[in-house]
């Protein structure tokens, strides 16, 4: 991408008979990628420097005396590149044979199996049979501390992990020790990488099964995992990630590339906080509390009853929201509260004592706000209360005598008598708690992992996420539940999709105006800066 506003000089070359124009300074490997031709490589990674040492991306360039490493060779005008010529293919086959000389071929018990570049490349272009009769050298496995386990025998010595720790984490704890046949990735003796807040990324960028996650060890086969694009909900950075799901449980989180938010990385803090999405204690059906006796019900009956109750007249409303809820959910809550005559909405947000930036890409940082959508709540006019633990701040509401609506907040720190004195207490959430059980109407909502929606991150980027899990029982997205209620009160339309719910949200907040799911796309879109009215 050009840093100045001028159009960068364009270079036209031919790769495997197809002409392509790319900006000057592009490498052959990147130009080929633009044509959809992925030249095999290990050591090259788009987020790191390229040492050109794996020798797998060598391609034939007409006029060059020998094969050129495509990851560092810049394109030239009129260049003719052959990536599939006999010479290039023969060389890849040869290099791959060397890679297998000491590889243990333990694919049946290797976590990387199925998403392994060594498997893929050898499958595509490797020799049918190995010729090596020598015993393989054996390293065994090494605990690198933290979440990381190292299987030295599987390593292809691409040094991506070393370069990540040097260039991105800027915590050079990994190195190549020894040399030649005995060279191996290691730390300073027993030092390990424990405590390095971004170390988990070295598992992602390892092209083979050398670096694996202890958390994921032998948990699932790669081909059994469904990959669902989503947004990390663990802080307000809004890293683009993928859910890897099996058996309707999130098995792990992996970063998804978004050069403007998180490049190719994510922090270990976010990476390891997914178990809550798999919680099985859930509110699964609407519960109507009739004189202290909770009665499970179905949606139409419950909404009918609740609507009837609301039409009898409503005391002044106060509401509690959650910064873990999507923009659509929060906007639907705002709609409902407005439909009931308006009232203040508060939310509680846990806050860390410091940020944890990634030194090599400081735009990525584990933010202080440990929830994905505090900014969205703020845009929708909600007020943050409580302490940095995300607790407290609701003492007044606990004994509120008007209408009380709670969305998403589990109220885990509150007494079971919360809301006892409320004239009407509506709870919309996913997890049961003593304070929620007092609700006159307890309505099951999906978690963000089970629904479509958007979050607004710390810098005001609205980013979409997609459902990764099946919702349990009768749980429905809060925007649908609250939207249906609000629609009954106002006579407006019921949102039938998250996209429509977002359109309704945009009606409430000028920041969202003009944005649609289409324009947000998979990369996100920055909110409109609120315009100060003249004289206001």
């Amino acid at each position: 991408m050009a840093e100045n506003s001028q159009t960068p000089e364009s270079v036209t070359l031919t790769i495997d008979g197809r002409e392509v124009s790319v900006p000057k300074g592009t490498t052959i490997l990147q130009a080929a990628e633009a044509l959809g031709n992925r030249i095999p490589h290990y050591c090259y990674h788009p987020g790191l420097s390229a040492p050109a040492q794996c020798r797998l991306c060598l391609v034939e360039v007409e006029g060059a005396p020998k094969l050129q490493p495509s990851c560092i060779t810049e394109v030239q005008d009129g260049q003719v590149v052959l990536t599939e010529s006999e010479e290039a293919t023969r060389q890849r086959t040869g290099v791959l044979e060397f890679y297998l000389a000491n590889h243990p071929l333990d694919c049946p018990i290797c976590d990387q199996s199925g998403e392994c570049k060594l498997q893929d490349y050898v499958h595509a272009e490797g020799r049918k049979h190995g010729r090596s009769r020598e015993p393989k050298r054996v390293f065994g496995r090494d605990d690198f501390g933290g979440d990381i386990l190292f299987y030295g025998d599987r390593c292809v010595m691409c040094t991506r992990c070393v370069r990540f720790m040097n260039e991105m984490a800027q915590d050079p704890r990994l190195t190549v020790v020894e040399r030649g046949n005995r060279s191996i990735i290691d730390t300073f003796f027993e030092e390990g990488v424990e405590g390095s807040p971004y170390a988990g990324n070295i598992v992602d960028i390892c092209p083979v099964g050398a670096l694996v996650s202890k958390d994921f060890l032998h948990k699932a086969r790669a081909w059994d995992l469904d990959h669902k694009p989503t947004i990390c909900p663990n802080c307000s950075q809004g890293c683009n990630i993928d859910f890897h799901v099996r058996d309707n449980r999130v098995q792990r989180l992996k970063p998804r590339a978004n050069l403007e938010v998180n490049q190719y990385w994510m922090c270990d803090y976010g990476r390891h906080r997914y178990e809550w999405m798999n919680r099985e204690d859930r509110i699964e059906s609407p519960v109507v509390n009739r004189s202290g006796r909770p009665v499970p019900s179905d949606w139409s009956e419950t909404l009918e009853a609740l609507h009837g109750r609301l039409q009898e007249g409503v005391r002044p409303v106060k509401a509690v929201a959650s910064p873990f809820a999507s923009n659509e959910d929060l906007a639907a809550l705002r709609h409902l509260v407005d439909a009931l005559g308006g009232g203040e909405i508060v939310y509680r947000l846990p806050r860390a004592d410091r940020e944890i930036p990634l030194p090599g890409f400081p735009r990525l940082s584990r933010r202080r706000d440990l929830a994905p959508n505090g900014r969205g709540a703020e845009i929708l006019g909600m007020e943050r209360v409580g302490d940095d633990e995300g607790a407290g701040g609701l003492d007044e509401l606990a004994h509120y005598t008007g209408t009380l609506v709670v969305l998403g907040d589990e109220l885990a720190d509150l007494e079971p008598d919360f809301g006892e004195q409320a004239a009407l207490y509506i709870y919309v959430g996913s997890h049961p708690s003593p304070a929620a059980s007092q609700a006159d109407y307890r309505l099951p909502a999906t978690t963000f992992a089970e629904q479509e929606g958007t979050f607004t991150n710390h810098e005001g980027r609205v980013q979409r996420f997609w459902p990764g899990l099946q919702a349990p029982g009768l749980a429905r997205p809060a925007w649908l539940v609250l939207g249906a209620l609000a629609a009954r009160m106002t006579g407006g339309p019921v949102p039938t999709s998250a996209a429509e719910a977002f359109v309704q949200a945009a009606e409430l907040a000028p920041e969202f105006q003009g944005l649609t799911y289409e324009s947000i796309g998979t990369r996100g879109a920055i909110i409109n800066e609120p315009v100060a009215l003249p004289g206001a």
């Binding site: 050079p172 020790v177 290691d186 300073f188």
Partner: protein, 222 residues
């Protein structure tokens, strides 16, 4: 000892290459006593500050990094490189010269001094085989078993050294004097089998020479 050199008649290999029997010259006369293990006098220009890439018999594993004349040499070494990282090899040499081997603690200390990461220094120190990662005896006996020496019986010479020192390869002998190692080419193929003992080359070594060489070293050490 210099007087006795010529008297060692049966000792076919006095430890120097010129011993062809054609000349009536002693080793000392050929290359001088100061040839081995000596380095240029302290002081002088930074470019002349030597660091020895081989073992010295005198060493102190606890020696501080770096004090007195060593400090001076260290500073001069730094002065001839554009940055501290570039000075790593000679500084490791200096540390090994003082301490006899490069222990994990030494790597860490050197990393601290040069503002590098411990892991990086370990990577460099383990890449180069002439840094001893473990303690060695007063005399580090490196027997070449690469092609030329192998053809001329290098394996037998190695076996003889191991037998007469009573050690396994890499171990320190009980008297603390010897560590025997197998090494690759010492660039003395014309005088196979070549053996490097600390800074000194012993050439044309046969298994029969080994006891005499060890005796000579024991004598030196006493």
């Amino acid at each position: 000892m210099s007087d006795e050199t010529t008297e060692r008649a049966p000792f076919r290999n006095p430890g120097w290459a010129g011993n062809t029997g054609e000349f009536d010259l002693s080793e000392d006369e050929v290359r001088g006593r100061s040839y081995v293990g000596d380095h240029a006098p302290e002081g002088g220009h930074a470019s002349r500050v030597p660091t020895v890439p081989y073992m010295l018999p005198e060493k102190d594993p606890e020696a501080p990094l770096f004090e007195g004349p060593y400090r001076e040499r260290f500073e001069k070494i730094l002065s001839r490189y554009p940055n501290r990282r570039a000075a790593l090899l000679p500084v490791l040499n200096l540390a090994q010269e003082l301490r006899g081997h490069v222990s994990p603690e030494t790597m860490s200390e050197v990393a601290g001094i040069l503002d590098l990461s411990d892991a990086y220094v370990r990577g460099v120190a383990t890449f180069y085989t002439m840094y001893n990662k473990r303690p060695v005896g007063r005399y580090l006996i490196q027997v070449c078993t690469n092609v030329s020496c192998n053809l001329c019986g290098g394996d037998e010479v190695l076996a003889a050294f191991l037998e007469h020192t009573g050690t396994e390869a890499g171990e320190i002998s009980d008297d603390g004097l010897f560590t025997v190692m197998e090494v690759e080419c010492l660039a003395a193929c014309g005088f196979a089998t070549a053996v490097q003992i600390n800074a000194r080359y012993f050439e044309n070594v046969t298994p029969d020479d080994v006891p005499a060489i060890l005796d000579r070293l024991r004598e030196e050490a006493s």
